[in-house]
């Protein structure tokens, strides 16, 4: 993608070279104006008095005042008030993201690091993400001055242009009636409806229960929310099998998460680290894995011709049998599955003995 702007983010004495690219596409594909036969069309300006074609340098821009007077502004005058060219996004301060009302957000752009060193870029991103703060500043692009919020999101910086305060209406300026009192019973009624609709995500009529095995917090928030809701929705189903969905999954991460969860649990129970160290065994970890409560897999089928597991079910597969297959997963057929089962049936399980 070609950058729309390039320059530096500055705050304090730090300056970070960046390139700005769009983060959204227009809703409609651009269409060309043609005549019935498909000839390309263009436009011309004609004088409304003289009815003759005007060239670009015969045109001026005029502003009509409230009293109907036309004030002509020349190109030189436009230039004289234009914002000064600058290659800087100067961050004036850092504010909590949740303090910016959604109404202010106008248009998002990505900021990519440019130049040789990306260290300062990653440093700013990590710092802002950790602090939950976004930088507020302004910059000039194509002759316009923009107010922006610099937001760190999953290791990437975004520059979201903001509307100015005088472009924002309020209920008072619109003339909405004063905030009214709502009866408690009506509020409860709506709360109930909200709760009913909130869990309508997983497809009805399916028998299986879904379980997310993976770190939902590494996924985009909407995705994580949908997966979580799908899991909740299917939790009470009893007739079908349980399907594990490994999204955002990493075996090492799973074990780390399990140990962390174990430590939290034990510390909440008032155990010291020494006490935990004394009693710790395999089952303690297993009880905190994403797959807790499920038996370890008997057979792991690895598709796509790779001869490695890449950390998949690292802990659980300690005694599993493996079956490798050359096809990619979408091309894995029912007969391939049966072949894998036949191979498994012919093996002698040793369970580490």
């Amino acid at each position: 993608m070609r950058p729309l702007w390039s320059g530096t983010i500055t705050f304090g004495l730090v300056s970070i070279p960046v390139e700005l690219v769009t983060a959204v596409r227009p809703r409609q594909t651009a269409m060309k104006l043609v005549d019935k036969a498909g000839h390309a069309l263009g436009r011309e300006y004609h004088c409304s008095k003289e009815d003759k074609k005007l060239s670009q340098d015969e045109l001026v821009r005029g502003y009509e005042t409230d009293s109907g007077k036309m004030v002509v502004i020349t190109d030189e005058e436009f230039e004289s008030v234009a914002p000064e060219m600058s290659g800087d996004i100067e961050l004036r301060n850092f504010v909590p993201l949740e303090q910016i009302p959604p109404i202010y957000f106008n248009r998002p752009y990505f900021l990519a690091p440019s130049g040789k060193s990306t260290k300062a870029y990653h440093l700013l991103t990590a710092t802002m993400e950790k602090a939950g703060r976004v930088g507020i500043g302004s910059f000039v692009m194509r002759g316009h001055e923009y107010l922006v919020a610099i937001i760190a999101d999953n290791g990437v910086l975004r520059a979201d242009t903001l509307r100015y305060a005088d472009e924002i209406r309020t209920p008072e300026t619109i003339g909405l009636s004063k905030r009214g009192k709502a009866t408690a019973s009506k509020v409860t009624q709506f709360v109930k409806i909200i709760e009913d609709l909130a869990t309508e995500l997983a497809e009805d009529g399916n028998p299986w229960r879904l379980r997310m095995v993976g770190a939902l917090d590494v996924l985009p928030a909407p995705t994580a929310e949908i997966l979580k809701a799908a899991q909740e929705k299917t939790a009470t189903r009893t007739e079908g099998v349980e399907v594990n969905l490994a999204v955002g999954y990493g075996g090492r991460r799973e074990i780390t998460d399990a140990v962390r969860s174990l430590l939290y649990e034990q510390s909440a129970a008032g155990r010291t680290l020494e006490e935990l160290a004394e009693i710790l065994d395999v089952e303690h970890i297993a009880e905190h894995l994403y797959t807790r409560g499920q038996p370890d897999p008997d057979l792991v089928i690895r598709t796509s011709g790779e001869q490695r597991l890449s950390g998949f079910l690292l802990w659980q597969s300690a005694h599993s049998e493996f079956y490798f297959h050359d096809a990619n997963w979408p091309d894995f057929r029912r007969t391939d599955f049966l072949r894998a089962l036949r191979s498994y049936a012919g093996r002698q399980r040793r369970y580490g003995a």
């Binding site: 269409m31 821009r61 602090a131 100015y164 619109i174 909405l176």
Partner: protein
């Protein structure tokens, strides 16, 4: 008092609630008329064939969708007619999600909703949304277009923000988190100190569109018939090259000497 731009009704489960829609943003763009410099008469736009210069009437204009550099498809008026969704006043709330799930890159245009008759239900819904900390995902048709929006409550009032479509919001994968430059703990600490040294609350009133203000002043001054001092036009918006910066610096020094 602003005029409502549209009226409709929210459909939430079996509940219906009449609302009026108001834009939450005020367009402050300063608009100009294109005039003929000689007689200051307004200009008229004529659509012409690029190859012959022949004027084309509105009825003969079509839109074409480019398939490649050479081929395009002409979209016929009745094709477009078929795409227009059926008219309706209903805003379907299809589900509710946690308020935190939508990042700001999804927000397109904000509106305030005002009650249309049933005030108590209106404020009850706003309170329920605030209490549950959720937003409703809404679908509706307005002025021949389909919209997806987020229904939420702000300070006890309902707002609706139209949302961009999934294929409009891009993800960014161009950045490789290079392992070798992972910031060190000491650097992170310094950066945190720097960030917290200019921490503040969000105060939009601190920022003004200075270009618009200068333009307004210029127009007012000219309307009063004041002479405007011509200012040396600034360099165009091309990125400043070393040569340009050098020349600009030299020019700036010269200007000082003259003055």
């Amino acid at each position: 008092m602003a005029r409502a731009m549209w009226k409709g009704q929210l459909q939430i489960g079996k509940q219906k609630l009449g609302i009026k829609l108001y834009s939450a943003v005020e367009d402050r763009t300063i608009r100009f008329h294109l005039l003929h410099a000689k007689d200051l008469a307004p200009v008229e736009q004529h659509i012409i064939r690029k190859d012959t210069g022949e004027e084309v009437s509105k009825d003969d204009m079509r839109k074409a969708l480019a398939l490649s550099a050479q081929t395009a498809v002409i979209v016929q008026p009745d094709d477009l007619e078929k795409l227009v969704p059926p008219e309706s006043r209903d805003i379907q709330i299809t589900r509710f999600v946690a308020a935190s799930v939508l990042g700001d890159q999804w927000f397109e245009r904000p509106y305030y909703l005002g009650p249309d008759g049933d005030n108590s239900s209106y404020f009850a819904l706003a309170e329920a949304l605030e209490r549950q900390d959720v937003i409703g995902i809404a679908r509706w048709v307005m002025r021949k277009k389909r919209y997806v929006g987020a229904l939420s409550a702000v300070d006890g009032f309902l707002t609706m923000t139209t949302l961009r479509r999934a294929d409009q919001v891009l993800s960014f994968s161009g950045i490789e988190p290079a392992k070798s430059v992972t910031p060190q703990a000491s650097e992170l600490k310094l950066a945190q100190q720097l960030v917290s040294s200019i921490e503040a609350d969000f105060d939009p009133s601190l920022w003004q569109n200075e270009y618009r203000q200068r333009l307004c002043k210029l127009i007012e001054a000219k309307a009063r018939g004041e002479k405007i001092k011509a200012v040396q036009p600034k360099k165009k918006h091309a990125p400043a090259s070393l040569e340009q910066s050098l020349r600009a610096s030299i020019a700036a020094v010269k200007e000082k000497k003259v003055a």
